[in-house]
C-alpha cells in the first residue's frame, strides 16, 4: 500500500514506474472489473476487458489531466468503452456514436468529491432500483449494452417515441435523485 494519492501515482505511471501502476491496479481493479462484468456478463471476457483497461492506463497515463475529473471516473469511462467495444465485437454489432477513443471523448468528468466511494455506489444503486422496470430497462440497454435508441426500440419492440420518452424520463429522475451531480 502507498500513501500517495491518485494524481501522484498516475504521474509516476506516466514516467514508467510500474510499482505505481500496480498500486493503482490494486486500488481500483474491483471498481473496474465490476463494471466490465456488468457489461459483458462473462467473467473471462470481463477479465480481458479489465486487463485492457489497465493497459490503457499504463500507455495513456500521460494524457490524464486531474483538473478534468477524478482518476477513477477516467478509468471507469475507459473501462465502459473497452467493454462495449468488446461486446460489439462479440455480438457483431456496428460501432455506435459514443465509441470514440475514451481519452478523446473524455471531456468533463465530475470530481465525485463529497461522497465516500461506498456511499456513492450505494446511492447510485438505490436510485436505479427506484426506477420503474421500463425505465431501468432503457437505461440498462443504453448505458450498459451500448444500444442506440432505435436499436432499443427494435430489441424491445416499442415505438421509437416511447423509447425516447422513457429514456428521457429515466435520466431526468436520476438527475433529480443525484441533485445534478
Amino acid at each position: 500500500m502507498t500513501d500517495l494519492d491518485d494524481n501522484q501515482l498516475v504521474a509516476r505511471v506516466a514516467q514508467g514506474e510500474e510499482w505505481a501502476f500496480l498500486a493503482l491496479y490494486d486500488r481500483y481493479v474491483g471498481r473496474v472489473h465490476t463494471l466490465t462484468l456488468r457489461i459483458l456478463g462473462e467473467p473471462m471476457l470481463a477479465e480481458e476487458a479489465t486487463q485492457d483497461t489497465f493497459l490503457k492506463l499504463w500507455s495513456r497515463a500521460r494524457f490524464y489531466l486531474a483538473e478534468r475529473g477524478s482518476l477513477l471516473l477516467w478509468l471507469l469511462t475507459i473501462a465502459r468503452r473497452t467493454a462495449l467495444d468488446r461486446l460489439r465485437l462479440e455480438t457483431r454489432r456496428p460501432t455506435l456514436s459514443d465509441s470514440k477513443d475514451p481519452t478523446e471523448a473524455w471531456q468533463t468528468i465530475p470530481d465525485g468529491e463529497g461522497l465516500p466511494d461506498e456511499n456513492r455506489w450505494r446511492s447510485v444503486r438505490f436510485a436505479l432500483d427506484a426506477l420503474s422496470p421500463e425505465h431501468r430497462q432503457v437505461i440498462e440497454l443504453a448505458y450498459y449494452q451500448g444500444l442506440s435508441q432505435s436499436e432499443i426500440a427494435e430489441v424491445l419492440g416499442w415505438p421509437l417515441g416511447t423509447v425516447k420518452t422513457r429514456l428521457r424520463s429515466a435520466m431526468e429522475h436520476l438527475r433529480q435523485e443525484w441533485g445534478g451531480r
Binding site: L55, R120, L167, R175
Partner: protein, 245 residues
C-alpha cells in the same frame, strides 16, 4: 434562439449523455452545442448523471491470476523474458554457426588433401608417360606385346640403361584388400618383386615403371600376379600375364 427552437435539441440531450442517440441526431446536436451555451450546461448535468451510472455496482475483484498476467505485460517483465530468449537464441545461433564453420573447415581440408593426392598422381602419371616416350624414342628399347584375356599393353625394356616400363589397359578389377604385384623372373625361374601396382579406376591406361634393383640382363622375363594388399615375397595369387624376353 427562442425556447421552442431549443426544444428538439434539449429533448435529445439525456440520450446523448448516455451515448444512445442515433448518429444523425447526434451530429445535429453536436452542431447545435457548439453555439449554445445553455444546452452545453444542460449536457454537463446529464453527463454527471450518466457518469454516476459507472459507480452503480459494488467492487468485485477479478481472479488473482489477472494481476500476474498484467504484470507480465509490463516492460520490466518483458525485458526479463526477452533477454533470456534472445540470449538463448543467440547461443543456439552461434553454436550452429561454429558447427557450420567447423564442418566447412573439415570439408575444405578434405578437399585440399584430395586435390593434393590427385595432383601427385597426375605428376606421377606425367613423369611415367614422359619416361615411356623417352624410351620409345630410343632405338635400343625393346617392345613386348601383352595380350592376356582382357589385359592389353606393352613392356618397354632398355637393358642398356636398365629401364623397364609397363603400359597396360583392361586390368581386371580387384577388391580393396588386394593389389597387383610385378615380378622379375630369373633364368632359374625365381621371382624378385619389382613393385606393387594399385591402378586408379578412372584411368584409361596405366604407365608404370618397373622398380629394378638388379641388372635387367640377369632376368629372362616379367610377370604380374594378384596378391594381398601389402604384397608378397613370392607369387601366391592369380597370374595376370607373363612376358619372356
Amino acid at each position: 434562439m427562442t425556447y421552442y427552437q431549443h426544444v428538439p435539441f434539449r429533448e435529445n440531450i439525456p440520450a446523448y449523455a448516455l451515448g444512445a442517440l442515433d448518429a444523425e441526431e447526434a451530429a445535429a446536436l453536436e452542431s447545435h452545442l457548439r453555439t449554445c451555451e445553455s444546452c452545453r450546461d444542460e449536457l454537463d448535468t446529464y453527463r454527471a448523471t450518466s457518469e454516476n451510472l459507472l459507480m452503480g455496482f459494488p467492487p468485485r475483484n477479478p481472479s488473482a491470476a489477472l494481476r500476474r498476467q498484467l504484470q507480465r505485460r509490463l516492460p520490466s517483465e518483458q525485458r526479463a523474458v526477452r533477454p533470456r530468449l534472445h540470449w538463448s537464441f543467440s547461443r543456439v545461433a552461434m553454436g550452429i554457426a561454429i558447427l557450420l564453420l567447423l564442418a566447412l573447415n573439415v570439408f575444405s581440408i578434405t578437399q585440399v588433401q584430395a586435390l593434393q593426392r590427385q595432383q601427385d598422381q597426375l605428376i606421377s602419371q606425367m613423369q611415367n608417360g614422359q619416361m615411356a616416350l623417352e624410351m620409345l624414342s630410343y632405338s635400343n628399347t625393346q617392345t613386348f606385346r601383352i595380350n592376356e584375356g582382357n589385359t592389353r599393353g606393352s613392356l618397354l625394356l632398355d637393358k642398356e640403361y636398365n629401364n623397364a616400363v609397363l603400359i597396360l589397359r583392361g586390368l581386371p578389377a580387384i577388391p580393396a584388400n588386394q593389389t597387383y604385384q610385378i615380378w622379375l623372373i630369373s633364368p632359374n625361374q625365381d621371382r624378385v618383386s619389382a613393385g606393387l601396382l594399385r591402378p586408379q579406376t578412372d584411368q584409361p591406361f596405366i604407365v608404370e615403371p618397373i622398380h629394378v634393383t638388379q641388372d635387367l640382363v640377369n632376368f629372362v622375363g616379367v610377370g604380374m600376379t594378384v596378391e594381398p594388399a601389402a604384397g608378397s615375397d613370392h607369387p601366391t595369387g592369380m597370374q595376370i600375364f607373363r612376358i619372356d624376353f
